[in-house]
């Protein structure tokens, strides 16, 4: 740190100490809602309903049916080449689609693909949110950002009720992204347009058992 840089730091800290001389005792934090009174099926149903509110298509399936449902979703979106994380599980391979593992693809290479397929860390029912924490099956952030379609596999047992429950579980060791629907804007006359810079479509494949 150069002389003037450390000078700025000391000046700001000194000023703070001068104007707030005594540490204020923290005020009481009231308790707020941490969970929903719903069973697993209730949470999954609420998540599906809430994320659908953001123009997201939800495809329910089972572990055995996963490959087939992913194939259907790809056909529905005319996807031919799909970016996938390098650790894509064997059962997640849709038929009739070229899978392109992300081994450090450039932005332009990702841009040329039709979509990306990943898993997620967990999902929040209350807000219809999927949480990506760069863990297994999720890849790096650019994968779910540049291609025009994001197909996300969500397992029923990863759905939590509330935002606080999600924060109980996530780690920020790796980058974390909360995704609630496809990218959107209302900047022109408050008219909602789906798909600005991120994926224009988000499809969730919900694995129920």
């Amino acid at each position: 740190m150069s002389g003037s840089a450390s000078e700025a730091r000391e000046a700001i800290l000194g000023r703070i100490r001068a104007v707030v001389p005594a540490a204020h005792p923290p005020g009481a934090r009231p308790a707020y809602r941490r969970s929903l009174e719903l069973d697993r099926a209730g949470l999954v149903a609420l998540f599906a309903e809430r994320i659908a509110d953001y123009d997201v298509t939800v495809h329910p399936t089972t572990t055995d049916g996963l490959g087939a449902v992913l194939g259907e979703a790809c056909r529905a979106h005319a996807v031919r080449r799909l970016a996938v994380p390098q650790d894509l599980p064997a059962g997640w391979r849709p038929d009739g689609v070229v899978l392109v593992p992300d081994d450090g693809l450039s932005g332009a290479e990702l841009d040329a693909l039709d979509g990306a397929l990943t898993g997620c860390a967990l999902a929040i029912a209350d807000t219809g949110t999927i949480v990506l924490d760069s863990g297994p099956t999720q890849g790096r952030r650019a994968l779910t950002l540049i291609p025009d379609l994001h197909l996300c596999v969500v397992f029923a047992d990863t759905v939590v009720g509330t935002v606080p429950e999600a924060f109980d579980r996530i780690s920020v060791e790796r980058p974390v992204t909360f995704v609630s629907g496809p990218s959107a804007t209302s900047d022109i006359e408050l008219s909602r347009v789906r798909g600005v810079h991120g994926p224009r479509r988000l499809d969730v494949v919900m694995v129920l058992e």
């Binding site: 840089a5 700025a8 000046a11 700001i12 800290l13 000023r15 703070i16 100490r17 104007v19 707030v20 540490a23 204020h24 923290p26 005020g27 934090r29 009231p30 308790a31 707020y32 809602r33 509110d53 953001y54 932005g107 332009a108 841009d111 929040i124 807000t127 219809g128 760069s134 790096r140 952030r141 650019a142 950002l145 935002v163 606080p164 924060f167 920020v172 060791e173 790796r174 980058p175 974390v176 992204t177 909360f178 995704v179 609630s180 629907g181 990218s183 959107a184 804007t185 209302s186 900047d187 022109i188 006359e189 408050l190 008219s191 347009v193 798909g195 600005v196 810079h197 991120g198 994926p199």
Partner: protein, 458 residues
């Protein structure tokens, strides 16, 4: 110096602007009420958020040092800037060191506050705004009029005309989807080639060194993920103690701001992440007047603000004047208290009067800032600074009149006799200035008390 009251006149005369604003604020307001009503614990969340912010403001030095240490441990660099010029120089030097002459930017009020784009331009660096509304503002050489939807004063036809002129497209409809698509194509090219990204920060977590950016369009993710170098300019008041505090703010902010249960994208990163995103991360901590705000016991709560803009959408003054009248990047009720404290009451003394003190702003504020109380507090400062005046003496005289029933009734009778006199449609003498921005009530033929006495004596 143009006062708010002078600047407001052009907005007040612009019927189109008032229709746009009325539609926009009404729409967001109604949606917000529904989004907030869904949460049974809204009041508890507000109090928890206010308590978290107050805790930070009570020990801001400790929290900033903790944040600095965590960011450094995770491979990031931390810079401190006392004012706008210092922050701009730091960012310009960092960009110049990379050899880049273009940066992509996430919409950020803080960088707008310090005039970063203009400062970078002086060094030959083009700052490309990537939020759709911010791009519209930048291409049109315009200024923003709303925190959340800065181009709300522009309609689709105006935006189409602007894009035809500036984006190099030849055919374009005025459908919002088509206009958005044109911006998407224009910016995608720039995202993919960008070497430096610049962002603000919604929150910085002291305990972990994590920075949080909340957005809708994906431009924030692009700018914070794709470039090799990321520079984040964060006001020192944006620090929160722990990651768990975000669970409160991420419930309050989207519902208060865009009136959604959750915004499309929230990004959290901690320093530099191997194999994912920028290889260099710089966090610039900015004071620029914030410690002045901190110094004021009553004004301090202003620093709780999370820039949601809910107060704009409920404010009867904002809805009529529009954002430009506030002469600052922070319009509306929050701007009326924040700007004078940041730049000094002597430079923005008219802003605390940009309010009818109706209190709607305080009712919706997700971090419980008592905006009317701070407004009144700042007005007291402003009048004290002006010293004794004829207006104040007249007000004191009026206060004496209003304090006793006999004197008040005598005054009413005098006023009634004065009705209809030419030139008395406005208040006379030293009260003229006070009356200029207020409509005077009609003085009735008979006061209620006179009527009561007459009826009773029958």
């Amino acid at each position: 110096m143009t006062t708010f009251q002078q600047a407001a006149r052009s907005g007040l005369r612009d019927a189109q602007l008032r229709r746009n604003l009325d539609h926009a604020t009404r729409t967001i307001r109604d949606k917000r009420s529904r989004a907030v009503a869904e949460l049974p614990d809204w009041e508890a969340l507000r109090s928890a958020a206010a308590a978290a912010k107050d805790e930070v403001l009570g020990r801001l030095d400790d929290y900033l040092l903790e944040l600095e240490q965590r960011v450094q441990e995770r491979g990031g660099a931390v810079h401190w800037a006392r004012d706008a010029a210092e922050a701009n120089r730091i960012v310009a030097d960092l960009v110049l060191a990379t050899g880049a002459d273009e940066v992509v930017k996430v919409k950020s009020l803080t960088t707008e506050e310090i005039g970063l784009n203009e400062a970078l331009a002086e060094h030959g660096i083009a700052a490309v705004e990537t939020d759709l509304a911010a791009l519209i503002i930048q291409l049109g050489d315009d200024t923003s009029s709303h925190i959340l939807v800065p181009a709300i004063h522009k309609n689709r036809a105006q935006i189409r005309e602007l894009f035809l002129r500036t984006l190099g497209v030849t055919e374009l409809s005025d459908e919002p989807a088509a206009l958005t698509e044109a911006a998407r194509r224009y910016l995608r090219e720039r995202f993919l080639r960008a070497r430096v990204g610049v962002s603000g920060a919604n929150f910085g977590v002291a305990a972990t060194g994590t920075v949080c950016v909340v957005e809708s369009e994906g431009n924030g993710r692009m700018c914070t993920t794709l470039p090799e170098t990321l520079i984040t300019v964060m006001g020192i008041e944006k620090v929160v103690p722990t990651l768990a505090d975000l669970e409160v703010f991420l419930q309050l902010l989207p519902r208060s701001s865009t009136a959604e249960r959750m915004n499309p994208y929230t990004s959290l990163w901690t320093g530099v992440h191997e194999g994912d995103g920028p290889r260099e991360f710089h966090l610039v901590l900015l004071d620029n007047g914030r410690t002045n705000v901190l110094a004021d016991e009553i004004g301090r709560q202003t620093l709780r603000c999370i820039r949601c803009s809910a107060c704009l959408n409920v404010c009867p003054v904002y809805a009529r004047t529009g954002g430009h009248a506030y002469g600052s990047v922070y319009p509306g009720p929050i701007g009326a208290i924040l700007t004078p404290q940041l730049v000094g009451i002597d430079k923005a003394g008219s802003l605390p009067y940009a309010s009818s003190l109706c209190g709607a702003c305080a009712d919706v504020c997700p971090v419980n800032i008592d905006i009317p109380r701070v407004l009144v507090h700042l007005r007291a400062h402003e009048t004290a600074q002006r010293g004794p005046s004829a207006e104040r003496l007249s007000m004191q005289a009026l206060a004496r009149m209003f304090a006793s029933r006999e004197r008040f009734e005598r005054l009413q009778r005098v006023a009634r006799r004065g009705r209809g006199l030419p030139g008395l449609s406005r208040l006379p003498g030293p009260l003229r200035e006070w009356g200029r921005v207020r409509d005077l009530p009609q003085i009735p033929d008979e006061s209620f008390r006179d009527w009561w006495r007459r009826e009773r004596s029958r």
